[in-house]
């Protein structure tokens, strides 16, 4: 079914109101894993945004094809294959045309395959019945939201390094508590959805 949402609405929805990390819990692993340093967090965010865009466009095409031949039950397997190859493609492309960026992203690039936010974008855009333009905007919004959450978290954690916290709380427990408070703050954006 076609949606009536305007493009800015889709973008805001994916980026702030239903932030992929903080209110839909997608991509928690990289969120907890690489949010230690501001620099790496920004790079990871950019890489994810880029792969999201590529795989979202591919998934949109694949979905059209699958519906044409009546094989919707293969959707999940196809999407995963598409994402894995998109990551591979991006990797080869970067290696050829921008070795500096390729080196900067390093190990993060292959890890993106198992980032559930990417598959999430592909699945949700199918569920909501977006067309190609809407898919692109949705993927950009989701990527921007992911980058935003990751960088905010990285900034907070860099300052927390210097803070004097009890021994027991150190590590993941503290990160989760901070994430909870951030998520609470992001719930304020719910008011934006009319």
């Amino acid at each position: 079914m076609p949606t009536t949402e305007s493009l800015p609405e889709i973008f805001l929805n994916a980026c702030l109101i239903n932030n992929f990390v903080l209110s839909m819990f997608l991509g928690i692993c990289p969120f907890l894993g690489v949010s230690g340093k501001f620099e790496t967090a920004t790079r990871m965010g950019m890489a994810v945004m880029f792969v999201m865009l590529v795989s979202s466009v591919c998934a949109s095409g694949i979905n059209w094809l699958l519906i044409r031949v009546g094989a919707e039950y293969l959707r999940l397997i196809c999407y995963i294959a598409v994402i894995a190859s998109a990551v591979q493609l991006v990797e080869m492309f970067l290696k050829k045309f921008s070795p500096a960026l390729f080196r900067a992203l390093g190990i993060f690039l292959p890890l993106i395959t198992t980032n559930c936010a990417i598959l999430g974008v592909a699945l949700f855009q199918t569920q909501k019945g977006y067309d190609l333009i809407q898919c692109i905007v949705y993927a950009l919004g989701a990527g921007a939201g992911f980058t935003l959450a990751l960088t905010i978290m990285a900034g907070l954690r860099e300052s927390l390094e210097l803070a004097d916290v009890p021994d027991v709380v150190k590590g993941t427990a503290l990160t989760l508590m901070v994430a909870g408070i951030l998520s609470l703050a992001f719930m304020g954006f719910q008011g934006l959805s009319g």
């Binding site: 903080l22 209110s23 839909m24 819990f25 997608l26 991509g27 928690i28 692993c29 907890l32 039950y73 293969l74 999940l76 397997i77 995963i80 294959a81 894995a84 198992t114 980032n115 559930c116 598959l119 999430g120 699945l123 949700f124 569920q127 021994d167 027991v168 709380v169 590590g171 993941t172 427990a173 503290l174 989760l176 508590m177 994430a179 909870g180 408070i181 998520s183 609470l184 719930m187």
Partner: protein, 211 residues
């Protein structure tokens, strides 16, 4: 993690439940844990669905471990997992539409649950099918246990119910924050805090005994 050939069966099963619990100790597969643990029923269905996929795909990976070429093993594992997830997706849709709607896209997202790919790669592809299945069952139940830990806290304090039955009487005001997304982060944070406190305490006791 080095696996010796002679690991006894009970050990392969029990380690997944507590000592190497995928969620609380190894911090894997956090996304579904946080997202679908707002009620006990959701947590239980998610846990069982993931356990089924884990056991079936580990069994198949272990049976085929001699035929899968090393270079394409990850892609092969993912295709195997995706096949079982598609089956579970349709099965849940047929059994209970309510549960299906509550879990939403998270059933399909079992594919990218790192616990499953992790066990397939680290254990099932190196061990015989019986051990692989026992290990997978232990890990799956450990995952379910963690989901239940979160789900029961969030449902009890958030709605005042357990599996839909009213526990605290009609005048209980639910802590609605626990049902909302932030509640997931807070509850998991508290569980990790408790576990880290217990570990620290155990270490301290052992130290004072040794001295």
């Amino acid at each position: 993690m080095p696996q010796t050939k002679a690991e006894p069966y009970p050990d392969a099963f029990i380690k997944g439940l507590w000592r190497e619990n995928p969620v609380f100790v190894m911090l894997l597969g956090m996304c579904p844990v946080l997202a679908v643990s707002n009620t006990v029923l959701n947590a239980l269905s998610m846990g069982l669905a993931a356990t089924f996929v884990l056991v079936m795909s580990c069994a198949l990976v272990s049976l085929l471990r001699r035929f899968i070429p090393k270079q394409v093993r990850i892609a092969t594992f993912i295709i195997i997992i995706a096949t079982f997830v598609t089956m579970v997706d349709f099965a849940i849709q047929a059994i209970s539409l309510d549960v299906y709607n509550a879990l939403g896209a998270f059933i399909a997202l079992i594919v990218v649950n790192c616990i499953i790919l992790g066990r397939a790669e680290a254990y099932a592809s190196k061990n015989d099918p019986v051990r692989a299945v026992i290990d997978a069952a232990g890990m799956g139940l450990g995952f379910t246990l963690a989901l239940l830990c979160l789900g029961s806290v969030r449902e009890l304090l958030g709605f005042g119910t357990f599996l839909g039955f009213n526990v605290f009487g009609p005048h209980f005001e639910g802590w609605s924050v626990l049902i909302l997304p932030p509640g997931g982060f807070f509850t998991l944070g508290c569980w990790l805090l408790l576990i880290s406190w217990m570990n620290k305490r155990k270490a301290r006791l052992a130290e004072s005994e040794a001295a």
